[in-house]
């Protein structure tokens, strides 16, 4: 839609009706544009501000497709890898992490009936593809391949994987063929004329007269030469692969290809600075002078005279003035830009998608701030994304004009740029003859296709060979490898669970809780994979205990403000919008002291802020710098002795810290829940609901121990912009301690217990609940409200605390096996010290490994997997099917939270691992925090959502496997009722299996239905303790049964 011509037409025609129809068509046009842009916006990264990092499926926008389709589609859209590189899978094959049988099984499943089709000398399709998977097939750009052929021994030595039999076969048949048909003297048969030419050409480089006395290596050399030329000849005659229409339609892409000059570099430099300033949440001390929205602010700024001298921006002011004068809205401006760029309506949608995605980090953040303004301090006005796009297209036009002029001397209309440039660059979307021949050349060596066989192939047969080989492309091979990789882990996991459960059966009643029916204490953690090892170690040091788990917000969805906090933070999964507020107060008796401390804190805070900001200014900086030498002391100390320095700091920090004696304002006296005084907290009934819900979820409705501990978790680290990603996922990237404290306080309330009793949930009088907080980085455990613990329980509590201390040490020790900077021979004490210093170390790029290696989620009773070594790879959710109703209400609500959250974590890790630069945020070392919202790489780049390379370096990208203790029928029923879960499961974004509560039969969900799983192996190592299994080992570890009885046997 050309707006200027539109004006002209309206002026010339005076008829009202045509004016109206034009106006309405313009309106339609803009509506189409609007929906196209919104459509494109859904593809933008959905990560919000980095301060509340929530893991989610990176390809969330494509989750209506199946996983395999989506990774390909995503790969095209974002130019990213769909799977790991082939090389990585082959390494796993070498190390036994994938077995040949896995590949075979996956391939058979993938090919189905097509696998048995016989393809002449290629064998069956199944065997061909299996062979192609067995060896690395090299490829590369044409120039590289030519170099390989000309300069390496590729044409003189068989590939080392070639079997001697194949090698001899190839050499012998060639020798025979050449000696028989292709030597001078005998006139060649008609079909051998070309072969004769080839051979003659090659023979020029060999000692022809001596051919009868050539040794083996000369013949090898000759055979390979002949093979190569025959391949090239055959491929050259075969029809070209169908040319795929180039995906890129942006002018920038076309120009970049042709000239090597990138117009986006120019545009982004301006746009990045402007977007960052526009979204700034309070970093810059001189905020952007805002004039309405994005577009208007931009016009106001870049419309003033005496602009930047850069050549490409010279026309910017005039252009902006023209647009301003014409009074174009952002959508109209987009329409005009599309028209001026010569983008037709057909390609428009695709063009807009690519344009929006070109700076997707910033565009995505603008979109997030626009849609979820409640999550940030300074949201942006609606329609910002349209305005962003309008500005971007104006800049694009200028930059493209400039680059086209400088690069190829193009002066004409912008509409013709792409056509003009295409003349300069040849299309190369299809593999060249060299690339195709080299593939066949390698396969021929590996599979023993002799030059003669290939030479005799008819053109049609060549097409078939090429089609078959190329159909099984690198992407396809990687997908097979990937599924084989997942299969191996899945079989191991399922087998381990079966074998372990079988082992437990005979001893189940005997040893439960060290001989007693009621555990000495119950410890409830988050389902987080990092708590798996902590629980396991606790159970090992305290066999008399029971551990349970539930999503770490413990059903207490709240906005929480700590005694020393400035704001309310939501503590619940992102999908829930809490309606209750909870505030922490300093204990009443400490008020006076706290008042003093608060003032001191405020003073120190203000001074710190002044120094922080002032040191960057003219005079303040001068003053700060004169005394700057004093900064060298903390600098050196913090870096050389992080742990000691932090101890020292907390020692002197004592006189400003919020007193540890605090209390929660948890009960509200007035309706409805809100932020003001009487409305803060929950009513007794609401508390009873929450407590009942969480106890039913974990199946703790009887058999209460005297002491029940709820444990929230979080993580603290320094120099880590992604700190919040390490916190509790069920608390939306915040620390879950207050939730544990709140639930314990609620469950201790006698009025709540009375209400519960009315619902047949009797908590014995002697049972006391305690909340605590586990820091997964330094492995510390802190308790809340201990003063309220009854005197009668203190002895037990002291004992528990001792046991937890031991569990901490062991947990730290197990974690340290993954840190390469810690010796494998370190003692548990040294390990604990190490993790403590890690959290305080400014120079530590990996405070902990977070969810890396997550692969499994088990929903069911702990008794069946207690003592199974899961290597911190499993989310564990407690669920007792015997307490659930026919409708599976409890399971449904557990899965409604567990499947999306765990799948989100698993998939974010998957994508950030397979393409760290594309889907992840790359290397964290050059990260640069921007606008308090996200990180850029280096001095200026797009915002980088996703996980850093350091976070995922030990991750093994597999789709998470859910093993749920229920029946397939019940599971299918849940799937049918819950669209979100159904989409993830049926789209194969997660793997799903059920384990029958009574028969332990496992059923695996495959292609839309459950199929019984047959146990593959009955072997499972048995060791006395976790340490006996993981000790001395860095890399991946398999499953093992931890049975303390083993120790008794050993000592005897």
């Amino acid at each position: 839609m050309n707006v200027s011509t539109l004006d002209a037409t309206t002026a010339s025609t005076n008829s009202r009706t045509s004016e109206e129809s034009l106006a309405s068509s313009l309106k339609d046009r803009l509506n189409i544009l609007r929906s196209a842009v919104v459509e494109a916006a859904h593809l933008l990264p959905a990560q919000g501000p980095i301060t509340a990092f929530v893991h989610h499926n990176t390809l969330h926008a494509l989750d209506h497709l199946t996983f395999d389709e989506a990774v390909i589609k995503g790969g095209e859209l974002f130019s990213c890898h769909p799977y790991l590189p082939e090389q990585r899978y082959r390494e796993k094959l070498k190390h036994g992490r994938i077995l040949p049988e896995d590949i075979e099984a996956v391939l058979s499943e993938d090919l189905g009936d097509r696998g048995d089709e016989f393809l002449g000398f290629l064998g069956t399709r199944h065997s061909l593809q299996l062979n192609m998977l067995a060896y690395p097939l090299r490829s590369g750009p044409v120039a590289e391949l030519r170099w390989v052929v000309a300069e390496t021994d590729a044409l003189s030595k068989f590939r080392e994987e070639t079997t001697p039999a194949n090698r001899d076969h190839l050499i012998e048949t060639t020798r025979r063929w050449v000696m028989r048909d292709l030597r001078n003297g005998h006139p060649p048969a008609a079909n051998n004329i070309r072969a004769r030419e080839l051979v003659d050409g090659i023979l020029e480089h060999f000692d022809k007269p001596d051919i009868e006395h050539w040794d083996e290596s000369t013949w090898e050399d000759f055979t390979l030469h002949l093979l190569w030329f025959v391949c090239r000849d055959g491929v050259g005659n075969a029809p070209l692969q169908k040319e795929i229409h180039p995906a890129s339609s942006r002018h920038r892409d076309v120009l970049l290809k042709a000239t090597g000059a990138d117009s986006d570099r120019l545009v982004h430099e301006v746009l990045i600075r402007f977007c960052a300033a526009f979204m700034d949440q309070g970093f810059g001390s001189w905020p952007l002078p805002q004039a309405g929205g994005f577009f208007e602010s931009f016009v106001a700024l870049y419309g003033c005279p005496y602009g930047p001298p850069s050549l490409w921006m010279r026309g910017l002011r005039a252009e902006l003035e023209r647009i301003q004068k014409a009074g174009l809205t952002s959508l109209e401006s987009i329409a005009e830009s599309l028209e001026l760029l010569g983008v037709g309506e057909k390609e428009e949608a695709e063009f807009l998608v690519q344009t929006v995605l070109a700076l997707r980090g910033y565009a995505g953040m603008l979109w997030q701030l626009e849609c979820r303004g409640d999550r940030v301090a300074r949201p942006v006005p609606p329609d910002t994304l349209f305005e962003f796009l309008a500005v971007r297209l104006i800049l694009d036009r200028l930059a493209v004009t400039h680059v086209a002029r400088e690069g190829i001397g193009y002066q004409g209309d912008l509409r013709g740029v792409r056509a003009a440039v295409t003349e300069h660059a040849q299309s190369c979307n299809v593999p060249s003859v060299d690339q195709r021949s080299f593939l066949i050349f390698q396969l021929a060596q590996l599979l023993g296709w002799s030059p003669e066989t290939l030479y005799q192939l008819h053109v049609d047969n060549w097409s078939i060979v090429l089609r078959e080989v190329e159909e099984f492309s690198s992407v396809k091979r990687r997908s097979i490898y990937h599924r084989a990789y997942e299969r191996r882990y899945r079989l191991q996991a399922l087998d381990a669970m079966l074998v372990h459960a079988q082992r437990l059966v005979p001893q189940a009643k005997l040893t439960q809780f060290a001989g007693s029916d009621t555990p000495a204490f119950q410890f409830i953690t988050c389902i987080d994979d990092r708590e798996e090892s902590f629980r396991r170690h606790l159970e090992e040091v305290a066999p008399q205990s029971e551990t349970l788990s539930a999503a770490g917000f413990y059903a207490v969805a709240m906005y929480y403000r700590g005694a020393a906090d400035a704001y309310f933070t939501p503590l619940c999964p992102v999908i829930i919008k809490p309606s209750h507020y909870v505030v922490e107060h300093v204990a009443y008796s400490q008020k006076q002291k706290e008042h003093l401390h608060r003032n001191r804190r405020r003073t120190i805070g203000t001074v710190t802020q002044r120094v922080h900001l002032g040191s960057r200014t003219f005079a303040g900086g001068w003053f700060a710098a004169l005394f700057g030498s004093l900064a060298s002391l903390p600098l050196v100390m913090r870096i050389l002795y992080p742990r000691a320095t932090s101890r020292f700091r907390s020692l002197i920090g004592g006189f400003v810290q919020a007193p540890s004696a605090t209390e929660l304002q948890l009960e509200r006296t007035e309706d409805p829940p809100g932020q003001s005084n009487g409305h803060i907290g929950y009513s007794t009934k609401e508390m009873a609901d929450i407590v009942a819900r969480i106890l039913q979820d974990i199946g703790l409705t009887h058999n209460f121990s005297p002491l029940v501990i709820f444990c929230g978790h979080g993580s603290s680290s320094l120099n880590n912009p992604h700190e919040s990603a390490y916190n509790c996922g069920a608390c939306a990237g915040a620390r879950g301690g207050p939730n544990a404290r709140a639930i314990a306080q609620m469950a201790n309330d006698p009025r709540v217990r009375t209400l519960l009793e009315e619902r047949n949930l009797r908590i014995p009088l002697e049972t006391a609940f305690v909340g605590c907080y586990h820091d997964t980085c330094d492995d510390s455990v802190a308790f809340y409200d201990l003063d309220q613990l009854p005197l009668s329980h203190r002895e037990l509590f002291d004992e528990v605390q001792g046991l937890l201390g031991e569990a901490r040490r062991r947990n730290a020790h197990e974690r340290c096996r993954r840190f390469r900077s810690v010796s494998l021979t370190a003692t548990p004490d040294a390990a604990l010290k190490h993790v403590e210093s890690r959290a305080e170390d400014l120079s530590q790029a990996r405070p902990e490994y977070n969810h890396a290696t997550n692969a499994l989620c088990i929903v069911g009773r702990r008794e069946w997997n207690r003592g199974l070594f899961l290597d911190r790879r499993a989310f564990l959710t407690s669920y007792d099917p015997s307490q659930d109703d026919e409708e599976r209400t409890i399971l449904t609500r557990i899965l409604q939270a567990a499947i999306p959250v765990c799948a989100g974590i698993s998939l974010e890790y998957y994508f950030s691992t397979v393409d760290s630069e594309g889907y992840g945020c790359g290397n964290k070392l050059p990260h640069n925090i921007t606008s308090l919202l996200g990180v850029m790489t280096g001095a200026a780049s797009d915002l980088r959502p996703g996980l850093s390379a350091q976070m995922v370096e030990i991750h093994e990208p597999v789709r998470i496997l859910f093993v749920i203790e229920t029946t397939p029928e019940a599971m299918l029923q849940i799937l049918n009722k819950n669209e979100g879960i159904d989409r993830l499961v049926r789209g194969e974004w997660v793997q799903l299996a059920t384990i029958d509560p009574y028969t332990s039969q496992i059923q695996y969900f495959v292609r839309g239905k459950f199929e019984p799983y047959t146990q593959e192996s009955g072997e499972l190592p048995e060791v006395a303790s976790s340490a006996d299994w993981y000790r001395g080992w860095r890399d991946h570890l398999g499953f093992a049964s931890i049975s303390p009885s083993k120790r008794a046997v050993q000592t005897q």
Partner: protein, 464 residues
Amino acid sequence: MSTNTLFFILGIAVLVCPATLVVILGLPPLVGRPLSEKTINRYAYAATVIGLLASLFMLAMMLVVGTRHVPIELGNWVIIPQQHFHFHLKFIFDRLSIPYVILSFLLCGTVSAFTSHYLHREQGYGRFYVCYSFFLLGMIVSSLAGTIEVLFFGWELVGLSSALLVAYFQERPAPVINGLRVWSVYRIADAAFLMAAVAMHHLTGAGDFDRLVGTGSWPDGIAVMTGGQALSVGLLLLVAAAGKSALVPLSGWLPRAMEGPTPSSAIFYGALSVHLGAYLLLRVSPLLEVSVPLAVAVVIVGLMTSLMATLMARVQTDIKSALAFASLTQVGIIVVEIGLGFRYIALIHILGHACLRTLQLLRAPTLLHDYHTIENAIGGRSTEESGFWGRRLPRSLQNWSYRFASERGYLDGMLDVFVVRPFQRLFQWCDAAERCWTDFLSGGHSRESDEVQIHNEIVEELRL
């Protein structure tokens, strides 16, 4: 052992430590035996600690003996009597160089300890430390240099290593482009430096600073030149210093240099490298006394830099650029102090600023954590809607100056348009002329390179 021998041994130790480090870290990878992370750390640690101790001991000795000027002579390495040229290897320990050397060892050592954790498991670990060792050597050599040639040698090592570290993440285009830009600006500075060296030889017959700024120990030297001579040499040195310390109009590269890993940004652009230009001016400061116009020029350049940088620092929205411009503000002030003759204040300013800024840059990734702590302490985010300038300027001027600051004072653009482009045009013209001639002489197409096609076919692994 006489005091002089002891001085000599200590002086040599200070120099040998970084030089040995270069050899130890640099040679093994060249012969295909890269060192392990642990070994690299141990050597880097040893070199900085021994160097630091030697220089501290040197300082103590000088205080005890009461001398303020210890030259270490390593003889004339090149003598061309006809041209009155000699290349004199000479190092000076005095009130200027000793603090700077101690600072270099201290900060380099700390940053090395930081890096050993920070770059753990990084592919370019060894490469980083090789560049680091070159940098350390360059810093020590240029701070101790007693002749302009020696200073140039160290100066070049610093420039080379910093450009290479800007381009440390060589697999992405931006660091490489920015590294090249830094390198190009350094070339301008180096050209000026070389011309200054030639001029100095021409005027004084030697490159020794003694001849230039008199024999008195720093800062009491009295220049032996006339005002005119001092102005010409001094202006060239000012250009050299402007390139190295990112003074106006060559400031554009400083924020772009924040591409490397955080510790290298800290040590180079927060601390040592960015002050090297100011250090050079301090070294030749007696010249400023001789020529008032020179002193005025220095003050103007410093003041301009400082004012522009403080304006630009205010509009930055990312922590590293903000710190880069904050650094620049102080460097500008330091240059002003030098121009005004406050040499000790300038020296103290350099030392304090370097320590402070290194700490701030190393802590840069903790920004969110720190903001959170501060907000909790003072009970909320400061919600100032318009900054200091916003309240005082009329709207249009405000827009203009905001854009001016946001576009980094147009400095890069002006360099591109007024310096780079004319050269580019000239070379393009020459190229066209050459093509005409060769085509004419060969009677047809003479450029084989024109035929070369761009290889942009997709590799199989990337084909979806």
